[in-house]
Amino acid sequence: MRVFRNLYGAGPLHLVGVLLSFAVAAYALSRALDLTGAPDRILLWLGGAIVAHDLVLFPIYALLGLLAAGVLVPGGRRTRLRIAALNHLRVPALASGLLLLVWFPLVANRAPGGFMRTTGLSSDVYFGRWLLITAVLFAGSALVLAVRARGLAREE
């Protein structure tokens, strides 16, 4: 048992669990590749989803966040007001970004023809709605910051 632990790095139950998980996953993947008629597209979407999140979406929002923090709270100038300003920018930006991410097909009006055939409605309203929500979020956040600003400055 000790030999196994030394070679493998965990107990035998760990290996059993990993192998079971891989077996189920291999079954599911083989069924998906068999049934959907476009195995290359499945693999593209599976791999692409990881790349799109880890190497595109995350770096973009992390860099924007760093940029905002660098401008609003530069080193040595950590005041409560500046930190609050950063967060009053983060909240509407993240909320608006989340809505765009989730409802992207509608907001970007990716399938107007299909949408019309299916629902009998036009899908060109969503971009305007998203823009309006975004504007309200930023304006509301700025308003709250303005109300808080005097109190925050006094606390310094």
Binding site: N6, L7, Y8, G9, A10, H14, L15, G17, V18, L20, S21, F22, V24, A25, Y27, A28, L29, R31, A32, T36, A38, R41, I42, W45, L46, G47, A49, I50, H53, D54, F58, A69, V73, R78, I83, L86, N87, R90, L94, L98, L99, V102, W103, P105, L106, V107, R110, A111, G114, F115, R117, T118, T119, G120, L121, S123, Y126, R129, W130, I133
Partner: protein
């Protein structure tokens, strides 16, 4: 056995990751919040598969009936009570899925430094565990992305959605079950060390990394981060709830595809396939339309719409509930399916295969089970809200059965085969 280190540059250097908030406690809280949502989303997803009764007739969207689909759920008939069952299960599926998205993104943010772990593998076990994260993260992103895109009626996949979403979910669950089993000790330790709630009470001055490490000065407390994620979840979940529940809540669904009425009229509730989209010739649904009742080997009756209207009518308030997570309850009037079976000369029908006039489309023929035929509120509807069905809603006649998935409520019915 020793594994090599990569050079400590860029993201492979530990101090590259600046946020003081990341740590096992934060990840544990996010994971614990995600778990019930994923559990409900998975169970309701598999129930939806069962609700399609893939073992009957041509109902299976993929794989076909019979064994060979190892994970397919057979063995029980989808019931007709309560009538809102499918609206509830499928509504929950879409609501929990969308609610989980902000938490999932936050959890991925909290563990992203692990993608650049150095050394990349510490042991065989560690290497296999990291490989299993491909299933977990890839499966999760794949399943969520396909689901979210599909409910917006956009089909850029190049593969068939249903089987891909189904088996993508099983792939994800294979990774998830292993992940939970391996991480429960980590979660328990984090909560034991820091307390479940205690870090939520820290103010900004006391927001320090969970373990001593180089990090930026905090600009956000853990309470604020988790509060923000929670508000985002509830908010975006509420927008999805609008199109599930309908009524006044539909106003919440400003970005969801089904939050919009088409007008105030009795036929202005949402449609899932317009008449214009299916390619049925106009004269086939005019005065010459006939309903044909068959047994498996012969035609037993041919009925005009007036004949159907002259039969005993049943009226019921029933939801039409879509796999895409929206539903809409209306008052339907029509002829009981059981009466049509009797007219076809079948006293105790086990199944009925309902055919639509639409020339193409996978579900133009749907088979219903014994309980669905026998329910006193199961009908071939001729009217809705007191007026004739509109063409978009299936005129001259459509199937309405309690708790039946919307796509099985066949529109423009031309033929029924009782067996």
């Amino acid at each position: 056995m020793r594994f090599p280190r990569l050079p400590s540059v860029g993201p492979f250097r530990e101090s590259f990751w600046r946020s003081p908030l990341r740590g096992p406690w934060l990840t544990s809280v996010l994971g614990s919040a995600l778990f019930p949502l994923l559990a409900i989303c998975s169970i309701t997803g598999f129930l939806s598969h069962a609700a399609y009764e893939p073992d009957l007739g041509g109902n299976a969207i993929f794989g076909g009936p019979g064994p060979g689909n190892g994970f397919d759920i057979y063995g029980f008939d989808w019931p007709t009570t309560p009538s809102w069952l499918y609206a509830a299960t499928q509504g929950l599926h879409v609501i929990t899925g969308i609610t989980a998205i902000p938490i999932l993104l936050a959890k991925l943010w909290s563990v992203i430094p692990k993608l650049f772990e150095n050394p990349p593998a510490r042991s065989v076990a560690h290497a296999l565990e990291r490989l299993s994260l491909v299933l977990l993260v890839g499966g999760a992103l794949f399943t969520f992305a396909t689901g979210v895109i599909n409910i917006q009626l956009w089909y850029p996949f190049g593969f068939s959605f249903v089987s891909a979403h189904y088996y993508g979910a099983i792939l994800f669950l294979a990774g998830l079950v292993l992940h939970i089993a391996l991480k429960v000790p980590v979660i328990l330790e984090a909560f034991r060390e820091r307390g479940v709630m205690a870090p939520l009470r820290e103010d900004l001055a006391h927001t320090v990394p969970e373990k001593e490490r180089e990090a930026a000065a905090p600009t956000l407390t853990r309470r604020a981060l988790l509060g923000g994620v929670g508000v985002a979840s509830v908010g975006i979940g509420a927008m999805a709830t609008g199109q599930v529940v309908g009524g006044p809540l539909a106003d919440l669904a400003v970005l969801a595809p089904r939050g919009r009425g088409r007008g105030p009229g009795p036929n202005d509730f949402p449609v899932n396939r317009t008449f214009g989209a299916v390619g049925i010739e106009r004269n086939k649904v005019g005065p010459d339309w006939r309903l044909m009742l068959h047994t498996s080997d012969e035609r037993r009756a041919t009925l005009r719409r007036e004949d159907l209207l002259a039969m005993e009518q049943v009226t019921a308030d029933l939801p039409i509930a879509c796999v895409e997570g929206w539903s809409s309850t209306q008052t339907w009037t029509g002829v009981r399916l059981a009466d049509l079976a009797r007219m076809a000369g079948v006293d105790d029908p086990q199944t009925v295969e309902v055919s639509s006039l639409q020339p193409t489309g996978r579900l133009r023929e749907v088979t219903l089970n014994r309980g669905q035929i026998g329910d006193p509120e199961s009908m071939l509807a001729l009217k809705v809200n007191g007026v004739d069905l509109s063409l978009d809603h299936g005129y001259p006649a459509r199937v309405i059965v309690p708790a039946l998935p919307g796509v099985h409520c066949t529109k423009w019915v031309g033929k029924m085969v009782f067996a």
